[in-house]
């Protein structure tokens, strides 16, 4: 049916979606960070495999960046921040975990249907990759929407970025420009995250964004 290349790409991209579901399932902050590190590792493997089958050596750099920054530096830094700020370590979710999982399933199905309809003409590997990438992006969005802890919202956003990196590597031959920009955005997001987490902690004694709602200004 399909070659081994396709199967392994399918395996890695599917694992990324699976790990996104695992991210949604977590209810403790340290475990969340570990699963996010796993997410980044799977992404790095997936990008490296794409680099191998597309014969695009610059993608190895992207894989290395993903591995170094997202799998090691950022989880360690967030871990330290959590310890230092003494952030409450249970994650409160909006709606139960079961409901979130079902919504996640629905979003994955939606992403599959939409991308398969829209990409009739493109290559097999690219379509597959895009479908999975959109699923990861939507699952990241779902995570941002259903979490009340600022750190978990940020992790949701970073998993969304991982989905974008997957999409960009699947698009054959996309120039280094976008890869640099994605790496850039990691750095800047990191800085902004750091600044805001410090400020939020400084101003409120919690990183629960529900506490921020009191200061929402007039409603509307």
């Amino acid at each position: 049916m399909h070659g081994l290349n396709f199967d392994i790409a399918h395996l890695l991209a599917g694992s990324l979606v699976l790990v996104s579901f695992m991210l949604l399932y977590q209810d403790r902050l340290y475990a969340l960070l570990n699963v996010y590190a796993l997410h980044a590792v799977v992404l790095a493997l997936s990008v490296a495999w794409q680099a191998y089958i597309q014969g695009a050596p610059h993608l190895y750099i992207t894989a290395a960046i993903a591995l170094l920054f997202k799998a090691i530096v950022i989880p360690v830094a967030l871990h330290r921040m959590i310890v230092k700020l003494g952030i409450h370590r249970e994650i409160e979710a909006v709606g139960g975990i079961g409901l979130t999982m079902l919504l996640g399933m629905g979003l994955v199905a939606l992403a599959m249907v939409v991308t398969l309809r829209a990409t009739e003409g493109a290559g097999l590997l690219a379509r597959e990759d895009l479908a999975f990438a959109l699923s990861v992006v939507l699952l990241g969005l779902l995570m941002m929407v259903t979490r009340r802890n600022a750190v978990s919202q940020v992790v949701g956003f970073m998993s969304l970025e991982n989905g974008l990196v997957l999409a960009a590597t699947g698009a054959k031959g996309m120039p280094l420009v976008v890869e640099i920009s994605v790496a850039f955005s990691i750095l800047i997001a990191f800085i902004v995250i750091g600044i805001f987490l410090f400020r939020i902690r400084e101003r409120f004694d919690t990183v629960d964004v529900a506490a921020l709602d009191r200061y929402r200004g007039e409603h509307g």
Partner: protein, 480 residues
């Protein structure tokens, strides 16, 4: 010679940012900021006369973005003059520290660089990068006051803006994926001029999907309903110059990006017509903004919703398409930039005089501070679309084209505009006329930027130079 102009437009802000960051002490940073903004404006003006460089892989200079660059650098310059005096006061009031002042000015230059990059780029990837960096810079600048409300506003802005950026990136990737089979892999498939040339050969379904994502992503930056949630808070809680920057500059640059995408999609006859989508979102934003103008109690929030309303109107105009509507949209965009920033300059003065942003605590401005009060009155009259100020022209053109092309849509359009006029004058009455209320501190801001902008808007309403009109017509035709 001409190519150097473009390089200058990138180089000046970049160097200025570095200089400000490395300068010891912060007293001079405001003046460096204003000075370099003026230089950037001059460089942009020169684009009007020098020979245009051919579209390269990264840089494109055509009629559309020349106008934008000149406008943006001009408003950036006047805002930098305003902010030089404004933040001095804030420093004395203790709301910002000197270190943050330097950061603010350095970031302002970075912002200018990003805007220039976004406007002049021929590469959809670079355009995305520039807009993303600009957004992140403004996030930091919005949160620069360390109050609860500012941090909440900045956090909300960050989350929503990041989601918008991500969706826009996905759209960009999809455009590349649609282009790659036709134009070959690599840099070529991301160059906008090539994309437009080959638009008819790109796969329609993928272009549709890409446009949806691009509309959602850049639409978040423009502040279209329902993606507008960050706008009122960011305007209200950040420093006033940043409100002017957001309303006058960032929204326009995002709209420019959307226009480029619209032109791309319009080149493919089988793809979704981008017009109806833009008309729909624009109209809803217009009505939403107009109705929300009532019952607002914070002055900056009031004008933030007015921005949403006007961006909705502009999107509606561009969605309608055709030479007159496009002309009207361009004119409205330019005048809205000038007027809204003038209003925010006035609001900055007012908030310093009264010491508050709550409308209930201010009143009778025309008697206590006549210059600011009447400035605000003229500004609000302009933004409401009264003749002889410029915005009346553009609104009139939009309404007449709508009556000609799609008469049914004219009804909600006119309703929205009338509702907005009513609300604005109701609120204006409370602020500018009647018995004086609230405190009356001494003010240190310059009035020059505000009067300059309002003067330009008045001129534009009375007389538009023929060359400008011709230029707009050319661009309107480009937009299709």
């Amino acid at each position: 010679m001409s190519f150097d102009t473009v390089t200058l437009l990138f180089l000046i802000p970049a160097l200025a940012a570095v200089v400000i960051a490395l300068m010891p002490g912060s007293k001079l940073s405001a003046y460096v900021n204003a000075g370099t903004s003026f230089l950037t404006f001059l460089a942009a003006l020169s684009l009007l006369w020098v020979d245009r460089p051919a579209p390269g892989a990264y840089v494109l200079v055509d009629e559309l973005n020349t106008i934008f660059v000149v406008l943006i650098t001009f408003v950036a310059f006047t805002t930098s003059v305003f902010s030089a005096t404004y933040v001095e006061y804030e420093l004395e009031a203790g709301r910002v520290t000197p270190a943050f002042l330097k950061l603010y000015h350095a970031l302002y230059q970075v912002l200018t660089l990003c805007f220039n990059l976004a406007l002049l780029s021929n590469n959809i990837g670079v355009m995305w990068v520039a807009i993303e960096l600009a957004t992140l810079t403004t996030v930091v600048m919005v949160g620069i006051y360390r109050t609860h409300a500012a941090i909440e506003a900045a956090w909300k802005y960050f989350i929503l803006a990041s989601v918008g950026i991500a969706l826009a990136l996905f759209g960009t990737i999809l455009v590349y994926m649609a282009a790659e089979p036709v134009m070959g892999a690599g840099l070529n498939a991301m160059v906008w001029t090539n994309l437009v040339a080959n638009a008819a050969m790109l796969e329609p379904a993928m272009l549709n999907l890409a446009f949806v994502f691009l509309l959602l992503g850049y639409g978040t930056k423009i502040g279209l309903f329902p993606l507008h949630a960050w706008l009122p808070d960011a305007h209200a809680e950040g420093p006033t110059p940043i409100s002017a920057v957001l309303s006058g500059l960032l929204l326009n640059v995002a709209l420019y990006a959307l226009l480029r995408c619209k032109m791309l999609l319009a080149g493919n006859p089988e793809a979704l017509a981008p017009g109806p989508l833009m008309i729909g979102m624009g109209l809803v934003s217009l009505l939403f903004g107009a109705f929300m103008l009532y019952r607002r109690r914070d002055i900056k929030r009031l004008f933030a919703y007015s921005s949403i309303e006007h961006m909705g109107l502009i999107t509606f105009a561009f969605g309608l398409g055709g030479p007159i509507a496009n002309f009207a949209g361009l004119l409205h965009m330019a005048l809205h930039s000038l007027t809204k920033s003038a209003i925010f300059f006035a609001v900055g003065d007012i908030s310093q005089v009264k010491g508050t942003q709550k409308i209930a605590d201010m009143g009778g401005l025309t008697s206590t501070n006549p210059l600011i009060g009447w400035g605000l009155v003229i500004g609000v009259a302009a933004i409401a679309g009264l003749p002889p100020l410029g915005i009346f022209t553009s609104e009139f053109l939009v309404v007449s084209t709508t009556l000609a092309k799609a008469p049914l849509l004219a009804l909600p359009l006119v309703l929205g505009l009338l509702v907005a006029i009513g609300a604005l004058f109701l609120q204006l009455n409370r602020i500018a006329f009647g018995e004086p209320r609230g405190a009356n501190h001494k003010v240190k801001c310059s009035y020059v930027p505000m009067t300059l902008h309002l003067g330009l808007v008045l001129c534009a309403g009375v007389y538009l130079p023929a060359s400008l009109v011709a230029w707009f017509h050319v661009v309107a035709k480009l937009l299709g």
